[in-house]
């Protein structure tokens, strides 16, 4: 789904071999675990519950707007007595808000991705939206935030717009923008109590954030999704379009930061950070669709050999790839490679920490 790169087989082979060196040499001079710089701002659209805009240094830009609407909770059985039924079945007494909250459903979050030049029902776009949605819901806590009472809930619409043409696979950009937009999201303060029709405070200043700010901030934060590729033995984070075009395999890894607070010796509070891997998906690397190179020994025009020997040589070339001749990767990824990707992502003080520290520096309006 990322646009096809216009690189020749020779360029691809050169890029692949320079990236598989140790340490890898990337076209833009980054180290293997370095992210591209980005600028971000939040609260850009007063008409939404939360919004964010992120520009990457390669010029790609995304805007995310969050809108919340109240919706009546319809139970899946289509009957009036569903809640009572569930209650009696699970043996929970009335008034237990925690148990009620577990009835929260992931469907309350709706997500759309708009990419210029692609249809909105394109399989690739749907895949991106599902990936991001799954990562947000995977911690099991997100949907509970949308619960108002047993009869009503918030329906959250997350609209993701890619403003620029899709230069590289836009997954990390969209994920970081979504993360910031959710951190900036506020829902009106509830004034009513219990199961009555919800009433809200008119004062927007009093509206609490979906993800609480300063103070006792414990619990999971919105997830971020990183794109990691493996080229030879190297593992590269935040690949550019050219790097993706030679990747042997690509993996989207979603992480969720869980804040824990431990009291240390009375006053001192140490806010720790725990990273949790919540979802992983392989992405079909565009390298599989790159044109293969032809070794000069198999080139009829160059060697001028007869048909039969040429056929034989071509067959040999197919079986034993020659050094320096580009061939699209075949087969899958070894478990050891996946394992090292997972370890690199979850590494303490690694890339994920660096990204989260960077995002924390963004001024949340």
């Amino acid at each position: 789904m990322a646009q096809q790169t216009l690189l020749s087989p020779a360029e691809l082979a050169y890029l692949h071999s320079s990236l598989s060196l140790s340490p890898p040499i990337r076209p833009d001079g980054r180290t293997s675990k370095q992210f591209r710089p980005l600028t971000a701002e939040t609260g850009i659209l007063p008409g939404t519950n939360g919004s964010a805009r992120v520009c990457l240094s390669d010029g790609t830009e995304a805007i995310v707007g969050v809108k919340a609407e109240i919706e009546k909770t319809v139970d899946p059985l289509g009957g009036e007595h569903y809640q009572e039924y569930v209650k009696s079945a699970s043996g929970v007494g009335g008034g237990d808000a925690e148990a009620d909250r577990s009835a929260a459903r992931g469907e309350w979050l709706e997500m759309t991705v708009e990419i210029p030049g692609l249809r909105d029902d394109d399989a690739g776009t749907v895949f991106l939206a599902e990936l991001l949605r799954e990562a947000l819901l995977a911690d099991g806590e997100f949907a509970k935030k949308l619960w108002i009472n047993r009869r009503f809930h918030w329906r959250l619409y997350l609209d993701i717009l890619l403003i620029s043409p899709p230069l590289s696979y836009p997954l990390p950009l969209l994920s970081l923008t979504t993360h910031l937009a959710l951190l900036a999201t506020r829902l009106p303060r509830l004034k009513s109590e219990g199961d009555e029709d919800p009433m809200f405070d008119d004062d927007w200043e009093a509206a609490p954030f979906l993800y609480p700010r300063e103070g006792a901030t414990t619990g999971p934060r919105p997830s971020i999704t990183l794109l990691v590729v493996a080229v030879g033995d190297s593992i590269l984070f935040d690949p550019s379009k050219e790097e993706l075009a030679v990747a042997d395999s690509a993996l989207a890894v979603s992480l969720c930061e869980v804040r824990t607070q431990r009291e240390q010796g009375g006053m001192e509070v140490d806010s720790g950070r725990e990273l949790r891997l919540v979802s992983m998906r392989t992405i079909d690397p565009p390298s599989r669709l790159t044109p293969p190179g032809v070794p000069s020994t198999a080139n009829l025009a160059a060697s001028g050999t007869s048909d039969t020997t040429q056929q034989k040589q071509q067959q040999r070339a197919e079986e034993h790839p020659q050094e320096g001749v580009w061939k699209a990767p075949l087969g899958g990824t070894r478990f050891a490679v996946l394992d090292s990707i997972m370890q690199a992502v979850l590494e303490k003080g690694g890339v994920a920490d660096e990204v989260l520290d960077g995002l924390e520096g963004v001024d949340l309006a």
Binding site: C55, G59, I63, K67, Y157, I163, S164, L167
Partner: protein, 275 residues
Amino acid sequence: MPLDTSTYSLALLRIDGRRWNDLRRLHAQIHTQDAADGSSYLEMGHTKVMCVVTGPAEPQAGQQKRGTGGGGQAGGQKDGASIVVNVVVAGFSSVDRKRRGRNDRRIQEMEITIQKALAANLHVHLFPHSTITVSLHVLSQDGSLLAALINATTLALIDAGIPMTDYITACTAGSTSSYAAGDDSADPLLDLNTQEEQELPYLTVATLGDSDKVAVLVCESRVQVSRLEGMLVVGVDGCRQMRRLLDGIVRQKGSKMIKEGAVQRSDMMAVSLED
């Protein structure tokens, strides 16, 4: 919420406190995005749009089928660049979230209107066999949407350096009382917001630069012929004001670029650097 027009005649102030010929606050930026050939951001009151221009570039396979441009021909035309306009209205742009598909008729109509206006006024014959892609994003809407889209497109095309005869600037004009009131002495209004658009007859007009040449005229509401001329005059005058504002933004950006050394100053430039 119905708009209360009865108070207008008392103080001659509109619902948001403007006089009949006041434009809303205009804020615009050009060159907002590094990767694009041309880009702009424009706010007219609470209507906010972004525009990204790509090209003139070699037409991409499959693009022509989707866009509403090129006069229906596939590939770049022989005698000039084809123009493709895509408008995306974000789900969060209006007060109530409403999702609009790519194939929404109203959006398609806006795309075609903009594409026709550009095709007539850009020097497309300089770029045969190529495509100019204009992609517009609506982030927030509060009336005069088509006008804002046209103005943003003009700025982005200037940023992309695509030669054109003059600025295409647009503006809406309305009338202070509804059609049913049958009030022939109704005052014309300039630059309507959503509330006024829903209640009052209005038209969108775009002109070419300082001239009176009309590039776009869209009127979808019912209005007495006698009122039309007044509305059109006010609209064209608004377009002139708009041109001055946009021109100011372009000049400001230009002098900033010269100061930063991004562009060499030459004697040919009619840009004053003192401010």
